[in-house]
Symmetry: C2
Subunit: 258 residues, 2 copies
């Protein structure tokens, strides 16, 4: 599945992120470190309980020694607030596109395709929004996208464990396959004449394509889209994670108000 460069040991931290991961996907967790002499509140208690239940090794230690490991995105973060807990984890496993596509579903499915979103904060925030909105998957290109690193896990609040993440060799061929299978393709495009709330998201499987900030969705993918939509703005375009939230929740609103 994954290249060796991404199977290096990884860490996550913070009560919510660790609790989400151990609840949802305990097999990913190799070991849990609690801060020496920490007071166990309800969340930490729950983490400890689930660790014991899943036979995960626990160690009490001075968490500050971890700071030196956490040079993320070329930014050296100092004074991270670990909230008393760090976990060593295996990487999130990517899902296979064909398996996802062929899975039987008794409802229409909704996915997002990220065409080159490289910023880990945006990627994490988008995953969190998609899980909140019960979206069915997110597809990213094998190249030009952000790996699921500690920043992504943290920003997503552990949501990376709740949604299939699919890595594609070629987004255009993914889009072609979706179209052949009667999915509708919606691309965000600042140049479009149609506002995002002027199309219907009901009664169909659909994929929303969002592009990198500045560049937007690539021309190849725009040409394949069934609908192009914009978010009206009297300033620059929205940040990509804000844009994602606006469009995704418009689809939720429409489906909810059927």
């Amino acid at each position: 599945m994954e290249s060796s460069s991404e199977s290096i040991r990884n860490y996550i931290w913070g009560k919510n992120t660790v609790l989400e991961t151990i609840s949802q996907n305990p097999k990913r967790i190799n070991k849990i470190f609690f801060s020496d002499g920490i007071n166990f509140d309800n969340k930490l208690k729950k983490i400890k309980e689930l660790a014991q239940k899943n036979s995960i090794f626990i160690q009490f230690t001075n968490l500050n020694k971890f700071n030196k490991y956490f040079e993320i995105d070329k930014k050296k973060l100092t004074n991270i607030n670990f909230q008393g807990v760090i976990a060593s984890v295996s990487p999130v496993e990517y899902q296979d596109f064909e398996t996802f596509l062929n899975k039987k579903s008794d409802k229409y499915r909704k996915i997002v395709i990220l065409d080159g979103v490289a910023d880990p904060h945006n990627f994490g925030a988008i995953i969190r929004t998609l899980v909140a909105a019960s979206y069915d998957a997110v597809i990213i290109p094998k190249h030009r996208s952000c790996p699921i690193n500690a920043t992504v896990e943290k920003t997503s609040c552990g949501a990376v464990n709740h949604i299939p993440i699919i890595k594609a060799n070629s987004l255009p061929s993914i889009v072609d396959t979706l179209k052949k299978n009667d999915w509708w393709i919606i691309a965000a495009d600042g140049q479009s004449n149609d506002n995002y709330f002027e199309i219907s998201y009901k009664d169909m499987n659909f994929a929303i394509i969002l592009g990198a900030e500045g560049e937007g969705v690539s021309k190849t993918l725009l040409n394949k889209a069934d609908f192009k939509i914009k978010i009206p703005s009297s300033f620059e375009s929205l940040n990509v994670s804000a844009a994602c939230a606006v469009i995704v929740y418009e689809s939720i609103r429409q489906i909810h108000q059927m």
Copy 2:
């Protein structure tokens, strides 16, 4: 207006942020630094042109020497991509609430009140969204909120120059004053029974109150709200800047589709 602690010299960087600021608010800029031997593209040319027009001092230098100044939010950022330009700026001036309130307006006005949003990325992203959506102001509490530092300016893409930012000694008394002046108060509240798309944002002046992550809007303010709304989620609540985008753009959709 401002306390001395906030009138210290500040820097902004990046083509879009510097261009937005010099276009919108040239008086804030004290000096512009270009990278030694930089190739001037259209944006940098425009910045240089506006600097000359406004008699702003320009200096060519090695921008890397600035890295040591930029210890922001207790995180030491290394390898910042300045995109060839840094500006030394005066702080954004806060606006006066009474002046804003009493200003004549021929249309209904829309504002956001941030009840303790401390994260600079969220604050910057929220300001960018509000400017995109042509909102009329943002109100923050004097204490418990994020100062408008370089991270906020950068994340907002210079949008801080496009919207009145009001600092309140007391949010409850601001809300009381708004209500006395026939404004409607809408508070985000995960416990509410009403979805954000089930209320009408049309034909009224209104303020949307958003709370800090985890804590939400304070009880005092919730009790003063005319409407409490939630964003449906099958996971944790949305990130506050995503939540802001969803609610703000629902108001835009409703007003647009009148």
